[in-house]
């Protein structure tokens, strides 16, 4: 296994910032030929950032990367490919209009001696690749309409066809069936035998034990430990993963939890989540924990009327309701602070006032005409209430810091005077100070009687803020904990689908 002492990829002192957030902090990492190296960590631990640096998508702000002992500076994904680094992304980047074979070989089609694309050879090779994966997928199938699992298989086939020296698998098994996982592992082992270095990013610890030789744990963008898998236990790994600091958090003040406001029964959206049931009470913060893709945001989208559930019931204050559109959700008093501030939360080109009042335009207009004074008054109120730091409510939100932008989104939804507030990753990408402020605000809101669903990938945040924690794993509820029951280890066990 460790025939070669020289690492094929070596990262020294890598750091990466996104605005005020440091995603990677002085990370060292070495990958050897012929090993399967698992990279684990919580959401936001920096795994994906590392993968993207290896893929040539991100450029590190500091540090050195060596491939095959030589210092390289990756400027593009193509360059990474040329160096023999193949990455199977979490979200496959494919051409939906083209068939499987072309997706594997795009940009480097096999060609005959006249320079023509050799379709036969291409399909044969891809069919062989797929067959070696023991997949029944035909190379002629258009990618449009393939499931994510199948798309990932295409990506894996692409990596295989590149004869990569380094294969990075970013949570490849998340969408595969157990049979497919077995087959994939067979391939991975085969590749390892050929001397390929495999970096395996996964949440599934049992898979890590099944396939990996060594393991590295990241936490909060820092390297925690690297050790042979055989020397680790599940408990130890989880302890390393969750050892995050809670210092900058503002814990929820205790409040008397009131009557049930929202009840969800057996909510199911096929292929996304199934049989989700819970109750939410006044003054309560219900945390949604789980790993990326567990179905938390998807549940929220259904509650807010953006997507539809196929079956299940939603009860609001004792009455069953159907939420068909965000407008309707708002009428029912549901507000949703979406996960992507820039894409879904804000109109960046608008002023603070215009953003704050965007969801309550009827309230700030008379006979269809906007009343700028009312608008500014409302915006001003929230601006001071949430202490948004700006030069005034007419300032464009694009000029604000992430934390203040988030407060603008919060203001927007508070302005609708909701009874149920869904917060999806409310503190993602904002600095420590602003985070604490947002926590204080959330806590105050709950104290004032709001029923809050808090979706967060930061476990400590959920644990500190939530009265109860609902854990989702692959679209199903795998655990519900009260505040006192919930520990990082227990939640993480449930979130990774471990049977204790």
């Amino acid at each position: 296994m460790k025939k070669l002492s020289q690492p094929i990829v070596e990262l020294v002192g890598i750091s990466k910032w996104f605005g005020v957030v440091q995603a990677l902090q002085n990370v060292d990492f070495r990958l050897f030929p012929g090993e399967v190296h698992a990279l684990v960590g919580e959401n936001g631990a920096g795994k994906s950032t590392l993968v993207k640096i290896l893929a040539g998508i991100y450029k590190p702000d500091a540090g050195v990367m060596k491939v095959g002992g030589e210092v390289v500076e990756l400027r593009s994904p193509t360059q990474a490919q040329a160096l023999g680094i193949a990455v199977v992304q979490q979200e496959p980047m494919l051409f939906p209009d083209l068939d499987v074979a072309e997706n594997v070989f795009m940009g480097r089609h096999p060609r005959d001696r006249f320079g023509r694309v050799d379709w036969k050879r291409m399909h044969r090779e891809v069919d062989q690749l797929l067959a070696s994966l023991d997949v029944t997928l035909s190379s002629h199938t258009p990618v449009q309409g393939l499931s994510v699992a199948e798309q990932q298989l295409v990506e894996i086939a692409k990596a295989l066809s590149l004869r990569a020296r380094v294969l990075v698998l970013d949570e490849p098994t998340a969408a595969l069936s157990s049979h497919e996982v077995d087959e994939l592992f067979a391939i991975v082992k085969q590749l390892r035998g050929r001397g390929v270095a495999v970096l395996f990013v996964s949440h599934r610890l049992e898979e890590v034990f099944a396939i990996a030789d060594r393991l590295t744990v990241f936490r909060d963008g820092t390297h925690i430990i690297t050790a042979p898998v055989s020397e680790m236990t599940t408990e130890e790994i989880i302890k390393h993963m969750v050892g995050r600091e809670l210092s900058n958090l503002y814990p929820k003040s205790e409040a008397e939890v009131g009557e049930v406001v929202l009840e969800v029964r057996q909510l199911t959206r096929p292929g996304v989540f199934a049989d989700v049931s819970f109750q939410l009470r006044r003054c309560e913060i219900l945390g949604f924990a789980g790993l990326v893709g567990a179905g938390r945001t998807e549940v929220a989208r259904v509650l807010f009327g953006i997507d539809r559930a196929e079956s299940g019931e939603i009860w609001l204050k004792g009455k069953q309701v159907r939420v068909r559109s965000p407008q309707q959700a708002m009428e029912y008093g549901i507000a949703y602070v979406p996960e992507d501030r820039h894409l879904q939360g804000l109109v960046m080109n608008f002023s603070i006032a215009a953003n704050v009042t965007l969801a309550i335009l009827p309230q700030v207009s008379r006979l269809g005409l906007l009343d700028p004074r009312r608008e500014q008054k409302i915006a001003g109120e929230y601006s001071s209430q949430l202490s948004i730091r700006s030069s005034g409510v007419e300032q464009l939100v694009s000029a604000l810091s992430g934390g203040n932008q988030q407060k603008v989104v919060l203001s927007k939804w508070l302005a609708t005077n909701p009874s149920v507030l869904i917060l999806d990753e409310p503190t993602r990408g904002i600095d420590v100070g602003a985070k604490a402020e947002v926590h204080r605000i959330i806590s105050d809101l709950a104290a004032r009687g709001l029923a809050i669903i808090l979706i967060s990938s930061e476990l400590p945040e959920v644990l500190a803020m939530a009265d109860r924690v609902l854990v989702l794993h692959e679209g199903r509820v795998t655990g519900t904990f009260t505040r006192s029951e919930a520990t990082q280890e227990r939640v993480m066990f449930a979130a990774t689908g471990q049977d204790r």
């Binding site: 998508i57 593009s76 994904p77 193509t78 490919q81 979200e91 496959p92 980047m93 494919l94 051409f95 939906p96 209009d97 083209l98 068939d99 072309e102 795009m106 940009g107 089609h109 060609r111 320079g115 023509r116 694309v117 379709w119 997949v135 029944t136 997928l137 035909s138 002629h140 199938t141 258009p142 449009q144 309409g145 393939l146 499931s147 994510v148 699992a149 199948e150 798309q151 998340a174 969408a175 069936s177 497919e180 096929p270 292929g271 996304v272 199934a274 990326v292 893709g293 567990a294 179905g295 945001t297 998807e298 953006i306 997507d307 692959e474 679209g475 199903r476």
Partner: protein
Amino acid sequence: MTTTSSEVEPAKQRGQPGQARLLGLVSRVRELGLLAVLLFIVLIVGIQAPRFLSINNFVQILLSVAILAIVAVGETLVVLTRNVDLSVGSMVGFTAFVTAYFFKELPHSNLLLGILLGCALGLGLGMINGLIVSFGRVPAIVATLGTLYAYRGLVFIFASNTTSQVNASDVPGGYLALATTQILGIPALILIAAVVAVIVGYFLHASQSGRQLYAVGSNPEAANMIGIRAHRLVFAAFAASGLLCGLAGVLWGARFGTVDATNATGLELQVIAAVVVGGVNIFGGSGTVQGAVLGAVVLGTLENALNILNVSQFWLQAIYGAAIIGAVVLDAFITRWLQRAILSRRKKA
């Protein structure tokens, strides 16, 4: 809306061989459907008016769409990259006029020279479009709307400084013969269009760059990830569209003999109709040259059939419009049906 973001899909679905075949089939529905429509028209009109079915009539139909088809082939290249070229009518008009004028002034010059001149002019115009779009980053619709005006203005200026009209009697017979010659009993015009369609179709099918054109239109981000230079390809697509417009212009002059500064005005509408009806996705990434040509033939056949059935020609334009809208509506429904079919299969699996 099915905005199922590419999150985890817990269900244990697997691609079955049947599903693969279904998908492959559906993607071809458009072209097959078009063929069916064509056959349907032929059948219905043939019963009503048997002379519609004469070989001569079919030759006439093909002749009437040959030039349109050449331009539609070029347009297909552009549309595949998620762009659109609205200036084709002006480019055809420009090259037709200049080529005809060239032959009028120099009737004894080499035929090939004139053809090359027209093609080169078209190429030049197309390259200007390409530069503005891919390097000036002006949206294609704006850029080519502008050049639609500008190129037409240039034709007028050229015409007012030379001659207002070139008549069939002014140009050498050799040039006009380009459109009337028959090779093995088939009119040269049809052959040229067929050759162009086959070459470009083959290029799209069998060349690396051709396939990358699809990639750029299908997912620009993914194309960028694997190092495809989208700018260059878009530029090349516009240049090729210009080149084919140049060729079409040369043939236009030969076919109609009499050309003035307004010729080929409004051609872009017919071209886009042919391309859209032919199943080329206006948002790029999918569609074929044979589809676009088939679209042109269907529209030409429809026009011919209406004439034969004595339907007032006032209906023609309305039918073109309805065909464009009908085609995109149909596309929307096919896509929905496809999605639903996949979903229900998944559920069963």
